[in-house]
């Protein structure tokens, strides 16, 4: 059994064990720590393991179906390894902070989401990439419907909306993937194996216009999962309603799946698809909707969970911008931003969950002055909030700068095209982020505390995962090359596709 298979199966087996009666917290935390350690070990071994050109490491494959050929193949390049690290970190933080009085299903759901996410990021077969993502979605739906916040009817409505949006998105995606696979297998056997598809794409590329069409279908499918404007309306209510660990995992990890799919499947197999003029324009239009419209929407929110949910939708716009530009720098920046956003939003949702538990409200107007009695909590929140608005020195900044620079210089000339205009417009998003995040920070922590509003700092054991997340933001923010070094394969794949 290869090490990546162990990474994927460990959370799933742990979930099964808890369901069979193993002690919930000990099992899930143990599995999460073990997985985090294994993934860290893989990071250190990656360079020597991936020396063999393709940029993939730790590969293994098991055939599960002959024709159409489906293999349970695993393998990691820099992108998937960074996302596996993100998953492992967020999972650890999520299961650690599940309070003792919560039912075991919290742990089971978190572990299943983690296992699904890891499976999706580490598989090298389109079928399993898709399948593992779906596996991760089920617990999300269930947990929102069962243990979500708010009124019974509201919670159910949100669960259904999420289910139907994501379900329909996945099915559009499935149709797009089937189309892609059929086109590339040309009269021969069907294969879902990514490496075989890639070889076929290099050998006989599809006509440009068809690439654009398929890319667009995949964009709609993946885009719904990532909450691309105007397919985004499920996301903010879902995160605001979901139980804290599920919100952390879904906003932090699972949402990256759609972006990962675009980078891993759509871009290498349809290298010219994203550059077709109408696709490019549609994508720019949609992502600017994410940044500008969702920016305004976020500013209008009056409750912290809504601010976080909407800001998460908004920040996807930057990553889409990096994908639309498709240059080496922009893509690397997009991956870095995926990691940074995942960590920062998970940290913020964890803290917001704590506030909701202790104070019973997240209405900005009712909060205030928390800094005076919970200084450590305030500091941790500041890490997340300032990272999220792109403060230099924290992880998001490097990613955003790379995306903007890469996108601006994407056509290799000094001419001002649609992409350059898009960058200019998108830059306003940074200002809007600052507006709502700083306002939220001021409303919650500064000024005088409202009467009867008291909250204590997390004790040391509760701080550990939060500090870990904050530290990750700081470390990657100060030394982004630690992760960027892993992304050489991204540029190699891009150059090969040109």
């Amino acid at each position: 059994m290869s090490v990546l298979e162990i990474v994927i199966l460990l959370p799933i087996i742990a979930a099964l064990a808890i369901w069979l009666g193993a002690p919930a917290r000990a099992t899930s935390v143990g599995a999460a720590i073990l997985n985090l350690l294994i993934v860290l070990g893989l990071l250190f071994q990656f360079k020597s393991a991936s020396a063999g050109g393709s940029g993939m490491a730790f590969e293994s494959a098991r055939v599960v179906l002959d024709n159409p050929a489906i293999t349970f193949g695993v393998g990691a390049d820099g992108v998937s390894l960074i996302l596996a690290l993100l998953t492992a970190l967020v999972t650890f933080a999520a299961v650690w902070q599940i309070a003792a009085d919560k039912p075991a299903i919290y742990h089971i759901a978190s572990l299943l989401i983690a296992g699904g996410g890891l499976g999706a990021f580490l598989s090298t077969d389109v079928f399993f990439i898709y399948a593992f993502h779906e596996l991760a979605l089920i617990p999300t739906f269930l947990m929102i419907g069962l243990y979500g916040h708010g009124e019974d009817s509201h919670r159910k409505a949100v669960a259904w909306k999420t289910t139907i949006y994501l379900g329909a998105g996945s099915l559009v995606l499935l149709a797009g993937l089937a189309w892609l696979v059929l086109e590339y297998s040309g009269g021969q056997k069907l294969t879902f194996d990514l490496n075989a598809l890639r070889a076929q794409a290099a050998l006989t590329p599809l006509p440009v216009e068809k690439q654009g069409l398929i890319f667009f279908v995949l964009l709609l499918g993946f885009g719904t999962l990532v909450s691309l404007f105007p397919l985004h309306s499920w996301a903010a209510p879902a995160y605001a309603t979901a139980p804290t660990p599920v919100a952390m995992l879904h906003a932090g990890v699972l949402k990256k799946f759609g972006l990962y799919g675009l980078i891993r499947i759509a871009l290498p197999l349809l290298p010219q698809g994203a550059q077709v003029e109408w696709v490019q324009q549609a994508l720019l239009f949609m992502l600017l909707g994410n940044i500008l419209i969702m920016g305004f929407v976020t500013i209008a929110q009056r409750s912290l969970d809504q601010v976080l949910g909407n800001s998460s939708v908004m920040h996807m716009g930057y990553i889409f911008l990096g994908i639309a530009a498709g240059t080496e720098i922009a893509l690397q920046g997009a991956v870095l931003l995926m990691f940074a956003h995942g960590i920062s939003i998970a940290l913020l949702f964890a803290l917001a969950g704590r506030m909701r538990n202790q104070l019973g409200t997240l209405e900005l107007s009712k909060l205030g002055g928390l800094a005076s009695h919970a200084p450590i909590f305030t500091l941790l929140f500041a890490f997340g909030a300032f990272a999220s608005l792109g403060l230099p020195g924290l992880a998001n900044f490097a990613g955003e700068v790379m995306v903007f620079l890469g996108a601006f210089g994407s056509n290799g000339s000094t001419e001002f095209g649609p992409m350059q205009w898009a960058v200019v417009v998108a830059l306003w998003g940074v200002v809007m982020s600052a507006v709502y995040m700083l306002r939220a920070f001021r409303d919650i922590f500064q000024g005088t505390a409202n009467a009867g509003l008291f909250m204590n700092d997390p004790v040391l054991s509760q701080r550990i995962p939060l500090i870990l997340l904050a530290a990750a933001l700081l470390i990657v923010g100060c030394c982004p090359w630690l992760l960027l070094d892993l992304l050489k394969s991204l540029s190699a794949a891009k150059v090969a596709a040109m």
């Binding site: 159409p68 299903i105 898709y130 399948a131 596996l135 289910t163 329909a168 059929l182």
Partner: protein, 489 residues
């Protein structure tokens, strides 16, 4: 030993069982159940050996009987589902005792065996007469089975509905057979296919014949627009019979449909594109008429009925739009789909039967808090529903993947859109049922005491669902030589 002798054995065994019941009235039902299950299990074991060792048939049946991979598969399928249904009958004995006069339901152990023989015979039919005779053996047995719980009004209503509509559909089917004989001068599938490939054959008459035949069969498999009877009949029939109808009767219908369609769309056939178009349009319609009304159902049995309709739609699409690039031909894909459909449906009905036996009803409300009352059943039911919804890593997804890929390959975009809509609504209603099981505010909080058999059965079916979903290769290989006839002499 030939597979054929297994069928002979089952006929004799079924008759013996009837005699046993008549001549030894003191025999209690538990013994009878044991004997019947043992007999079918023995038949299954014999079948496994026979299907491996020999494919040759006695000379006198060879003109009517063939043993290709598909036939062998469907025979095995019939034996498995019969075994499961007999077991379900034991599980729902409380309900049956209550709703049959004198609590006497012993025939329920012999009738499924006759259905099984009919299905096995039909699977290897080479001509429409054999099809008709064996189909009637199945259908007439089902008339009795559906109305079996005579003290329940719902069952009587279901029985009458099924009898009248079933008889009507039989009429339509016979009419279609007569027409096809008139047009092609043949009753064997081979002869029909050969005649249809001749340009001289009258196209309009052939189309009329095809329309009648397909309509008659559409009723049997619960495809639109002949699906109206399904919810009422499923709701009224005893649970084991509903499961049998949903899986067994559907498989029987589809094996005939597969053979018929294969004859209609042979190379050079003058009506190939029309028949394929009809299947695709009918499949798309069936999916919509199955999944959209399912949204409003509050009875799990009716929910499963509508689900059964929409699955018939996917099966029709699989038959109409297979991809030439799979190792499985359309008939193989249908068989694959049915093999995945069996465990999930039976599991769903098993959970219903267990709840029924513990005093619950068949409403969604009765599923409340099931996760607390029996985590095993809740998980098994979750897997069954997720598989019915077609979620990846469960058996149901593999079938859907074949259907979707085939549709894309055939560029049947309209049908693809309908399939996507159906699958997306499926997420809604199957998930609603899953959600209910995990909501804890239940009127009943007692733990369900399950028998060891129930536990093992539920766990085994759940494992099968996951295994096929993760590792479908063995099943594919079982069906693969379907593309080339294995009857090598």
């Amino acid at each position: 030993m030939s597979v054929f002798s297994v069928e002979i054995f089952l006929v004799v065994f079924g008759l013996a069982l009837l005699c046993l019941e008549a001549f030894v009235p003191t025999l209690n039902r538990r013994t009878l159940a044991g004997i019947s299950i043992g007999g079918v299990a023995l038949a299954f074991i014999l079948f496994v050996f026979a299907s491996k060792s020999a494919t040759d048939l006695p000379a006198f049946v060879q003109p009517y009987h063939q043993l290709d991979t598909l036939a062998v598969f469907y025979k095995g399928f019939a034996l498995v589902i019969t075994l499961l249904v007999l077991w379900l009958t034991v599980e729902s004995s409380a309900y049956l005792t209550k709703f049959t006069p004198g609590g006497n339901y012993s025939e329920l152990f012999s009738l499924p065996i006759f259905v099984c023989v009919g299905m096995m015979w039909m699977a290897s039919a080479k001509d429409l007469i054999t099809v008709f005779v064996s189909l009637e053996l199945v259908t007439v047995s089902f008339y009795v089975l559906v109305a079996f719980a005579r003290k329940s009004n719902l069952a009587l209503e279901a029985g009458v509905k099924y009898l009248i509509l079933g008889a009507l559909s039989t009429g339509v089917l016979v009419y279609g057979i007569a027409w096809i004989y008139g047009v092609t001068g043949a009753l064997s599938f081979e002869g029909i296919g050969a005649a249809l490939a001749l340009p001289a054959t009258s196209k309009s008459a052939a189309l009329l014949a095809a329309a009648f035949l397909l309509s008659g069969l559409a009723f049997k498999v619960a495809a639109a627009p002949f699906q109206m009877w399904v919810p009422d009949v499923y709701q009224g029939a005893p649970i084991p019979v509903t499961a049998f109808l949903s899986v067994g009767s559907k498989a029987a219908g589809f094996v005939v449909l597969t053979r018929t369609v294969e004859a209609f769309v042979v190379k050079g056939s003058i009506i190939a594109s029309e028949v394929q178009g009809l299947l695709i349009v009918g499949g798309a319609l069936t999916i919509l008429l199955g999944s959209l009304p399912a949204i409003f159902q509050t009875s799990v049995k009716r929910l499963l009925a509508y689900s059964s309709i929409s699955h018939a739609g996917y099966l029709l699409l699989a038959l109409g739009a297979g991809s030439a690039r799979f190792d499985l031909n359309p008939g193989g894909v249908v068989a694959f789909y049915l093999a995945t459909y069996l465990p999930m449906t039976v599991l769903g009905f098993l959970v219903l039967a267990v709840l029924r036996a513990h005093g619950g009803g068949e409403d969604l409300q009765d599923f409340r808090g099931l996760s607390k009352r029996s985590p095993l059943l809740a998980l098994a039911m979750t897997l069954a529903l997720a598989s019915l919804a077609g979620l990846p890593l469960t058996a149901g997804f593999m079938g859907k993947l074949f259907v979707f890929t085939g549709l894309v390959d055939q560029a049947a975009w309209g049908a693809l859109v309908c399939a996507v809509i159906g699958a997306a609504t499926g997420f809604y209603y199957y998930f609603r049922a899953i959600l209910v099981m995990y909501t804890s505010d239940s009127q009943k909080a007692d733990l369900l005491k399950l028998s060891v058999g129930t536990k093992i059965g539920a766990a085994a079916l759940a494992v099968v669902i996951v295994v096929i979903g993760v590792y479908p290769k063995p099943l594919q290989h079982l069906l693969m030589p379907a593309t080339v006839s294995v009857v090598a002499h």
